[in-house]
């Protein structure tokens, strides 16, 4: 799956076997749902799944980068919420809508930089630093709108969610663009090398003369940027600013990241697997909804399947020995 070894041409069989287990689970799940529910395999539903996963997908890319550096960013969900609120309220205050979008994404980039500084300079474990930030950020989001959601009418929201380009809605394209961008950064720039270094052997980076503080700040700031884009898409999806809309997404993003084969240790993994992780979660929800499983049981079912998926993933990896 990893681009680093792309030059090595291996036959298809071993390459299929080397896919993260989550891909197979995804296939199995999709098969199960398409057998149980006839409407599942409709083209429209596939499109549906892609659109629904796009916001979480972008957030999960951000989380993957952070996890690669052996951290977790618990403030990502709050950052996305903040952007929805800031964007709409700035626009409402009369600022040009594109400028407003840029400004609000800038805000999360700054939040990300603070996270990075706390982690690198402050030497606080990322979990607790970003948890603190989560509180701060969600407070800002709530204070911006005095606690309520905020609404502003502009064609851009519907334009984003309803425009289709080559049969695929815009949010999916944006997610694809973010994937391309992140992929390039991760595998084709120094920034990406440093991410793998921070997770794999920070000492090596220091000896090679890399300023690790800067690297951390950059990673968290970029994660903030992605969270901002996720927030923009979300704002379009719900056509309003919602101060708590992203609550808990950071954890789903972690789950997707780990399912995608990125490890909390030694900087192993990459963003391609994360796509499968996010799709697994989305397909699961979508499938349960389409099959009309009652709300009462959904949480337990999703929980059990995610737990099984993680356990199977661990088992398969152990057998494979990676």
């Amino acid at each position: 799956m990893n681009a680093n070894v792309q030059a090595v041409k291996t036959p298809l069989g071993p390459r299929l076997r080397a896919l993260p287990p989550v891909v197979w689970m995804l296939v199995v799940l999709a098969l199960v749902f398409s057998i149980t529910t006839p409407q599942y395999f409709a083209l429209a539903n596939l499109r549906n799944i892609l659109v629904q996963s796009s916001a979480l997908m972008i957030l999960a890319f951000a989380q993957t980068l952070i996890v690669l550096t052996q951290g977790t960013d618990l403030s990502l969900g709050a950052q996305a919420s903040l952007v929805t609120v800031l964007w709409v309220s700035l626009a409402k205050a009369g600022i040009n809508i594109y400028l407003a979008a840029t400004l609000s994404v800038c805000a999360t980039v700054i939040v990300g930089m603070c996270n990075g500084l706390l982690v690198s300079k402050g030497k606080i474990p990322p979990f607790i630093a970003t948890f603190g930030m989560q509180n701060v950020v969600s407070s800002i989001a709530l204070l911006t709108t005095a606690g309520s959601s905020i609404y502003f009418s502009h064609y851009i929201f519907q334009f984003v969610t309803e425009t289709r380009f080559l049969f695929v809605p815009l949010p999916v394209w944006i997610a694809a663009l973010m994937f391309a961008l992140t992929w390039l950064l991760l595998y084709r720039t120094k920034f990406g090398v440093n991410i793998f270094g921070l997770g794999g052997n920070p000492e090596a980076l220091v000896l090679a003369g890399v300023n690790t503080v800067k690297s951390y700040v950059k990673v968290y700031a970029y994660a903030g940027f992605l969270a901002g884009i996720c927030g923009l898409i979300t704002a379009c999806r719900v056509e309003s600013g919602q101060p708590v809309v992203g609550m808990g997404w950071e954890f789903e993003a972690v789950a997707a990241t780990l399912l995608g084969g990125t490890s909390l240790r030694e900087g192993r993994g990459g963003i391609s697997g994360t796509i499968a992780g996010v799709l697994l979660l989305t397909v699961l929800r979508n499938g349960l909804n389409v099959s009309g499983i009652s709300a009462m049981y959904q949480n337990a079912i999703i929980g059990v399947i995610v737990m099984l998926a993680i356990v199977i993933d661990a088992m398969v990896r152990r057998v494979r020995g990676d």
């Binding site: 701060v136 337990a300 929980g303």
Partner: protein, 334 residues
Amino acid sequence: MNYIAKQIRGSRSFFCLAGLMTLLILSSIASPDFRTLDNMITILRQASTLLILSTGLTAVIITGGMDLSVGATSAFIGCVCAQFLKIGVPVAAILPIGLLIGAAVGALNGFLVSVVGLPAFVATYATNWVVKGMSIIVMNGAVIFGLPEGFTWFGTGYIGYIPVISVIALIVVVIAYFLLQKTTWGRDIYAYGSNAEAARYSAVNVYKTVFGAFMLCSMSAAVGGLLMTARLNAAEAAMGDAYGLQTVAAVVVGGTSMLGGEGGVSGTVIGAILLTVIVNIMNLLGIPSSAQPMVVGGVIITMVLVDSASRRRDETVSKKSRNLLKTPQKGEVV
């Protein structure tokens, strides 16, 4: 005496204690309503549930792990036991039932972490999801209320001036302190947390240690859940939500390192009280609810920042030992 002073000064909870003291003093100045006996008892009562939940979590975090399922587990056990009480199970039987379910959830976590080898963070997040889903199923969305008085007394009663719930919290803390500090198993938890590999080489029973820590955690969550239910005189599937990460914050602010091997329940006591006091004083000062998380987040970051700065000061060579260079001392160990 010198030793004790040194221990306190050197212990991780020192900064937390100092922070709490500062907060108490500032609060007393800021609000006259704060320094009443009544308010102190209120804080004590409110801190109790958080304290019970975080006490068990302390053990898990000392092993270098994490339990994100504490809040959900406590709610789940509260819900199940409320259902049991409703169908007439005697109050006396409820505690064992709760502890048993707690032990089962803890064993599941322990299994996922030590046998399957998942990172605790992920394993317990999945457990959190499952347990939360199960409490929704158990409750079917309803709220159970009107529990027997013999049961609610534990949550609302008083012994003298002291709320029963605080007495129970104290008991839980003392038990956990005793287990962690005075038993070989407790020592194994510290040893495993500071260096898991060394613990294995020192013939520590790793499974017993990890399972034990998670079970202690979930069992204290059980006690917390029962008391939460008793105090509310009701059970609701979502009642543990707020405790999920707050417990982690209480433990870490109390000076227990997320890397494991350091800290203890005494710090957690201070951490839990600290977090409770912050909310209390903010309510008294009329700080709007939307702004409150910001203050809490700020305090958490500051406390941990100070703590980690002090840790680093230990690591670097102090001025005093630098001077050793100038006047080499004979017989000094290299």
